[in-house]
């Protein structure tokens, strides 16, 4: 894992670097123009499906595949209202479910991973190295290996059809990526801070709470955003643990648009798809800085 670890002190400088274009020698006006043309073209091709989805969500069904222009010639905003109530429960239920799971997962990850990270980054105790290696090992471990026994365990605990299987692991720091991210961040903070706090009579908990936590906001923001995106998108966990439609998350609900054999309500399906992606895109725009830094630090996706 020798990926560059952006330390907060260097981070300030890098940020400015990031925004400013590096002008390489020998870069003529024509080559600059070609670059822009090329990049815009690729960008347009990549954005086109999303724009098409947005436009289709506002078109009447009959036009979606017949009129390929992005700007609808005929508007059908009713797709949103109809799609909202098209399934067993209205989408308000699914969005609330997803939101509850996401918010609790963020709290769980921030709480448990920051505690573990502080332990690994700053405290000295017997077996620390061994545990740290174990933690890194779980980062590489494909989750599907644990799937069957975890399912059996959760079903024995009577947790099927509840949110516990989706939430409890997040409160128990099972997401090693976030621990790793925070450890890297905490290690880059000057150790003198801890020493000063100790001399002032702070124990490890006060030091963690009063000194380290406030300085870790960037790492916490990265964790929160990544948790938001991955939990909001998560499909597999809810699929196996939730069978009662009242508990469905947004992705499970969306899938039902395909289940119903009618398959002609594309407008409604796209309308709800747009709504389901909107929070991710919103978070992305708001937190881009943290995301980019986060994946540059840990290679997280």
């Amino acid at each position: 894992m020798s990926i560059n670890t952006a330390s907060p002190r260097r981070a300030g400088k890098r940020e400015r670097d990031d925004e400013a274009p590096i002008e390489r020698f020998g870069s003529t006006r024509r080559s600059r123009f070609t670059r822009h043309l090329l990049l815009s073209l690729v960008g347009l091709v990549m954005m086109y499906p999303l724009l098409w989805m947005l436009s289709s969500s506002l078109k009447p069904n009959s036009l979606i595949f017949d009129d390929l222009r992005l700007w609808p010639t005929e508007w059908a905003p009713s797709n949103y209202a109809d799609g909202w109530t098209a399934l067993d429960y209205d989408f308000g239920v699914y969005f609330t479910n997803s939101l509850v799971i996401v918010v609790l997962s963020i709290i769980g990850n921030l709480f448990s991973c920051s505690l573990a990270a502080y332990g690994f980054a700053r405290l000295d105790f017997t077996g620390r190295k061994l545990f740290f290696v174990l933690m890194l090992g779980t980062m590489m471990l494909p989750g599907h290996v644990l799937l069957v026994p975890q399912y059996i365990l959760f079903s024995k605990l009577g947790w099927l059809n509840t949110y516990y299987p989706l939430l409890v692991p997040n409160f128990l720091a099972t997401n090693a990526f976030f621990i790793f991210l925070m450890v890297q961040f905490m290690r880059s903070l000057p150790k003198e801070l801890d020493d000063a706090a100790r001399i002032d009579g702070c124990g490890p908990f006060r030091t963690f709470w009063k000194v380290i936590m406030p300085l870790c906001t960037p790492a916490f923001a990265t964790t929160a955003i990544f948790t938001f995106i991955s939990v909001w998108n998560e499909f597999f966990g809810p699929l196996i643990y939730l069978t009662d439609p009242e508990l469905y998350t947004v992705p499970l609900a969306l899938r039902q648009f395909v289940d119903s054999e009618g398959q002609s309500q594309w407008g409604q399906m796209f309308a709800m798809s747009v709504l389901s992606l909107a929070p991710i895109i919103g978070f992305f725009i708001a937190g881009q800085k943290y995301l980019v830094k986060g994946i540059a630090t840990t290679g997280l996706k």
């Binding site: 390489r24 822009h36 499906p49 989805m53 390929l68 069957v148 026994p149 365990l153 998108n233």
Partner: protein, 306 residues
């Protein structure tokens, strides 16, 4: 200090301090320790179950290597292996190449870099979402925009979603569409390469290609290596794309029956928990072998600067 650490147990102020110190550390790690129970126990439990016949209702019955023998005689299992390998070995190199190429263009210095980066990165956050897989089905549908576009060039596009020969390729396109996250990592790596190397090379008359071969590739190789391993591991575990494509069936004609999708069918539709565990462990071994091979090959192409 090291001497004190060597001595275990014992009495006296040093040992007391150490116990106190240990207690603080373990308290911080308490949630993690409990979480590890949810990892370590299932890890070994699934290894045990892999050698049993278990359907959740009756007790697991030890059957030795029977599950594994059955697997390699199971045409659907072999099909899922083939689908996953094809998908991985086509889409991972393509998306990493796209990521590197675009990162290099961006790194040559363009105005509006944050905007471009955002546009290229955004799809990688959406690629695994149900909404986007549903969108992909419609884009590639018989009358979707992809075929309309091909139509402009007089090409009659196939029916991507229902033709077993093409269904997987539209998911490969979806994977390549998400090249943004390795791209951001490449970009961060490229920024660490001092410009003076290129300046010196240019003075010596090295061509662009030569500069790429002799400066960029070696200096970036640890990051290429890292991206490669990450992408391989993630790609072997693809699930949502295959599931949403055809309502969990892996169709058309099992052409998108990903490994984990078949594992899901075995474990959670038919409750063949032993078989599913055997599949999970086999995939773990496959992933470990490929990761190991990548590590070994790294000796020849990964250049560490120390």
């Amino acid at each position: 200090m090291p001497a004190a650490r060597e001595r275990r147990g014992g009495r006296g102020p040093a040992a007391g301090r150490r116990r106190h110190r240990d207690r603080a550390g373990y308290l911080f790690l308490l949630p993690w320790f409990l979480g590890m129970l949810l990892v370590v126990i299932p890890f070994f439990a699934s290894l045990y179950l892999a050698f049993t016949d278990y359907n959740l209702l009756n007790d697991p019955k030890w059957i030795g290597f029977e599950n594994f023998r059955e697997m390699f005689a199971d045409p659907l299992y072999l099909q899922s292996l083939k689908v996953t390998f094809t998908y991985t070995f086509v889409s991972v190199p393509l998306s990493l190449a796209a990521a590197l190429l675009v990162a290099m263009v961006l790194n040559r210095g363009v105005k509006g870099l944050p905007v471009y980066r955002a546009v290229f990165y955004l799809p990688s956050l959406l690629g695994a979402s149900v909404a986007v897989v549903l969108l992909w089905r419609e884009i590639f549908g018989r009358e979707g925009i992809v075929n309309a576009f091909l139509g402009w060039f007089g090409v009659q596009g196939p029916s991507w979603t229902t033709d077993p020969d093409y269904a997987l390729s539209m998911l490969i396109v979806l994977h390549v569409w998400t090249f943004g996250s390795p791209m951001v990592i490449f970009l961060a790596g490229l920024r660490q390469i001092p410009t003076m190397y290129y300046e010196a090379a240019a003075v010596d008359g090295a061509s662009r290609w030569r500069q790429f071969r002799s400066i960029t590739l070696p200096l970036l190789s640890p990051i290429i290596f890292f991206n490669l391993i990450q992408s391989l591991i993630a790609s072997f575990q693809t699930f949502t794309q295959g599931f949403v494509m055809n309502n969990g069936s892996g169709g058309p004609a099992n052409s998108t029956l990903f490994y984990n999708l078949y594992l899901y069918q075995q474990g959670f539709n038919q409750f063949h928990m032993g078989y599913a565990s055997a599949m999970a462990w086999t995939l773990l071994i496959v992933i470990a072998v490929f990761t190991g091979l990548t590590f070994l090959s790294g000796k020849y192409w990964v250049h560490y600067d120390n």
